[in-house]
């Protein structure tokens, strides 16, 4: 016999497994990044004749913050672009795309809003005017806000980390505005953007012809290559 609390716990783990698994992997990877990062920072510190730092000092440093934030901003930008652009651009044959005839914001009936809302539709989907507009764009807005927040964090932590390096090399620090125009800032930014855009383009194109059985990111294995907007 299994106790009810144990059953409900295992049901919770099953129902939220995807989020929990990625959250745990995120924390483990972040920890590993901190360990490798402090080792790298201290290698540089020794060669600059500066004291090495401990793990706690490193994870509260701008060096760690900029390395984390520069990757976050590009991930949120990727999702922002994907969420917004897939309303207007399609890829025939991709399970990540909708059908070409659905291009655009679609009808209220298709979107189940306003009078076409169903009993189980979210409350704001049944509303009209500004509330409906806000809820209709809430996912993109939150992703956009997270992108801007992460990018801001990258720039703020980045100028501090850059200036610490400048001072170590007996060079003058730069202002935040100067940093925003610097090759350092844009190189950090663009090297992440290009990789995210490549990953999206690859996923969109490869999923036309390739399959992953059981994955909702793939079409069913037997689905036709031309079938669009079909998830396995």
């Amino acid at each position: 016999m299994t106790a009810p609390s144990s059953r409900s716990r295992s049901r919770f783990l099953r129902d939220n497994g995807l989020t929990l698994l990625f959250a745990v992997m995120f924390l483990l990877t972040l920890g590993a990044q901190a360990l490798s990062g402090v080792a790298l920072y201290n290698q540089q510190a020794v060669s600059d004749g500066v004291d090495p730092v401990g793990l706690l000092q490193y994870v509260t440093s701008s060096d760690f913050a900029v390395d984390v934030a520069e990757n976050w901003q590009s991930e949120y930008l990727q999702f922002l672009l994907y969420i917004v652009l897939t309303a207007w651009f399609v890829q025939r044959g991709s399970p990540e795309s909708k059908s070409p005839e659905d291009i655009g914001l679609e009808s209220d009936e298709d979107q189940r809003v306003g009078r076409s809302a169903r009993p189980d539709s979210p409350r704001w989907a049944r509303a009209s005017g500004p509330r409906l507009w806000i809820y209709s764009n809430s996912l993109g807005a939150v992703m956009g806000a997270l992108f801007l927040l992460s990018w801001l964090a990258q720039s703020v932590a980045g100028v501090s980390a850059f200036n610490e390096q400048q001072l170590r090399q007996l060079q003058a620090p730069v202002s935040w505005g100067e940093y925003l125009l610097s090759p350092e800032f844009w190189n950090r930014t663009l090297q992440n953007w290009q990789s995210e855009l490549l990953a999206v383009a690859s996923m969109t194109a490869l999923s036309i012809y390739l399959r992953q059985r059981g994955s909702p990111e793939s079409k069913p294995v037997g689905a036709a290559h031309a079938a669009t907007s079909v998830e396995g």
């Binding site: 730092v53 060096d63 934030a69 997270l146 927040l149 801001l152 932590a157 001072l167 170590r168 990111e217």
Partner: protein, 139 residues
Amino acid sequence: MRGWRRPAVALAAVAVGTATLVTGCSSLRPDGAAAASVAQRFHQDVRRGDGRAACALLVESTAQELEQSGDGPCPRSVLAARLPDAQGVRGTDAYGRAAMVRMDHDVVFLAVVGNRWQVRAAGCEPDGQAPYQCLVKGG
């Protein structure tokens, strides 16, 4: 990819993002006033001819470089380095564990060693885009 489009994940990301911003900002405020005070003390020691006290404020690699390239032991070499006479502090830039103190007739670079600021370079002048040219600095 679609599994990630969940409000809960977005909310969690906001929380962690804010935490990163805060931790990033927390390290942006090292104690610049303490760095300026050490730079002033260093110049005071040099001005009153106390080379031993001035050398106690230098990072080890700078003291070693002085001994190797100067006129013998650090206390003698630091006084012989002909550092400009600087007293007042015009401004301080401090980031992480490094600082630059702009004085009335000198620029001093410092680093955190242990829990205190020490002088890495003094008697420094700008040199265009290149590093400052310093009379006293580490190897």
